[in-house]
Amino acid sequence: MDQGKFVERVLFLLALSSISSLVVITVFIFLEGLPLIFQTGLTDFIFSSHWAPTKGHFGIGAMIVSSLLVTLGAMVLGVPLGLACAIVLAEFSSARVRAFLKPTLELLAGIPSVVYGFLGVIWLVPLIRNYLGGPGLSLLAAAVILGIMILPTVISISIDALTAVPDIYRDGSIALGATEWQTVRRVVLPAASSGIITAVILGMGRAVGETMAVIMVAGNAIKLPASILDPVRTLTSNIALELGYAAGRHREALFATGIVLFVIIMILNLSATLITRRR
């Protein structure tokens, strides 16, 4: 075999093992968690909110709802903020301002999630407790922190989508007497919509999957929240909080929780990829 063919085979093997890690992850999580889901019954596992692993009750309904609510809250805060930054950077700022703002905002992505959680506990939680009531550690606190944490994802993908809109559309609109804002709102944003939706979906993925910051500020009570000031436990926190000491069926239940999380994330990723490809 000549050198060229040999190198190609080696590289192909490297590429294959890179993605095989994804396959292995999937297989292991499912192998560990599926038996328990079958024993408990899928409906019971997903819809019951009775979680008492030592007594054999495995229902994660409340956690699924909490995860979704926290994510939704994060979107309410993070999407407008992130989109605003993206529009300002892509459409309304000069090259010099952009050269400064873009790397600065990208720094947000570098701050570790534990730091976000920590600052949430120190600053945000007391604010909520003192001004809005409740224990402070709450759905609201988690949503706010996550809303900030997803900003880099939303901003950078939205900027890419906006800059991908050809200038001829902008010129066409300006030449008809539109203001810059009219051009952005009526032509550029619709043209970039699929990219922006992708940004939002990937932001959701980040929010659903985030663990450490949520554990620190969400309060972690296992019940359906009645208000945004109630403490909640998400799927991710459930795993992180109990994995350290869980054994036997309890540990399997945590893997089962992981399966649900994994499926949610994969659905989000898949729809993001499909939307991007359709464009």
């Binding site: 309304f92 203001t179 893997f255």
Partner: protein, 280 residues
């Protein structure tokens, strides 16, 4: 019917709002950095950096956690870099766009989206339990390697694609083989971009907590072999803060962690800008 505002008025209002929201985002960022720095920097003495933690971290420094962080990160990068760069080379130089590249790229995107807690679960069951590595530097490094792999693949792919096609033509016309072309010209030209990816991966590894809590464990001893458990700075900070062991030490750890990550990311960004400028 609501009276129609003049487009200029609407524009002014919209721009003001958008800039205000951008300003708010910047303020949040500045608040985070300033807050951590002000409370953390006074803790950053030589003693803090070079003494081992004592009494669960209530006293002493964070030296052993720095070492554990370096070990885990180094292991992850050493494992993930060849794999990631090799994958990127395969994707860009050896295949035409087709089903194989699409699957590999999609797989890498999915891997990038897998939450760290899932990776933690996986590392826990495979490396810690099944393979019997226990809570250790090895388990942590292996799992982190999987986490940073997609980052390295993506940035390397972009960097390699940015190298002008003409360079490859020149090399082929000079009678260089494909592998010689890649190693002598393409990779050296793409090196800044590849380095950027690796630096970003280091940044991610330094700040990661969920993965390491369940794979590297949280023993405060100084790790000496690959099979020792080690507590990284991020995990140490999490435990200090969550269990309220010592706020000043928590701030100090956070400051070191944050500043080193920000510096690494800033350097990575500058490097990438230079690459972009060179080839555009």
């Amino acid at each position: 019917m609501i009276p129609r505002l003049h487009p200029k008025v609407t524009q002014a209002a919209a721009k003001t709002l958008l800039w205000a929201l951008t300003g708010l985002t910047l303020l949040i960022l500045i608040f985070i950095i300033v807050n951590i720095s002000i409370k953390g920097l006074p803790q950053m003495t030589l003693g803090f950096l070079f003494q081992d933690p004592q009494d669960m971290g209530r006293h002493g420094g964070i030296f052993s956690t720095i070492i554990a962080t370096i070990y885990v990160t180094l292991l992850a990068i050493v494992l993930a870099s060849p794999l990631g760069v090799g994958t990127a080379i395969y994707l860009t130089e050896y295949t035409r766009e087709g089903w194989a590249t699409r699957i590999i790229r999609f797989g890498s995107e999915c891997l990038a989206g897998v939450p760290s807690i899932i990776l933690g679960l996986f590392g826990f069951v495979l490396f810690v339990m099944k393979l019997g590595f226990g809570w250790s530097i090895l388990s942590g490094g292996l799992t982190l390697a999987i986490m940073v792999l997609p980052i390295i693949i993506r940035t390397s792919e972009e960097a390699i694609k940015a190298v002008p096609q003409e360079y490859r033509e020149v090399c082929f016309s000079l009678g260089l083989s494909q592998w010689q072309t890649i190693t002598r010209i393409v990779l050296p030209s793409a090196l800044p971009g590849i380095t950027t990816g690796i630096m970003l991966s280091v940044g991610r590894s330094l700040g990661e907590t969920a993965v390491l809590l369940f794979t590297a464990g949280s023993a405060l001893r100084m790790p000496t072999t690959l099979f020792d458990s080690g507590r990284t700075m991020a995990v140490h900070f999490y435990i200090l803060a969550r269990e309220g062991i010592s706020m000043p030490n928590a701030y100090g750890t956070a400051a070191i962690l944050m500043i080193s990550i920000l510096l690494i990311n800033l350097a990575a960004y500058t490097l990438m800008q230079r690459l972009v400028k060179r080839y555009s």
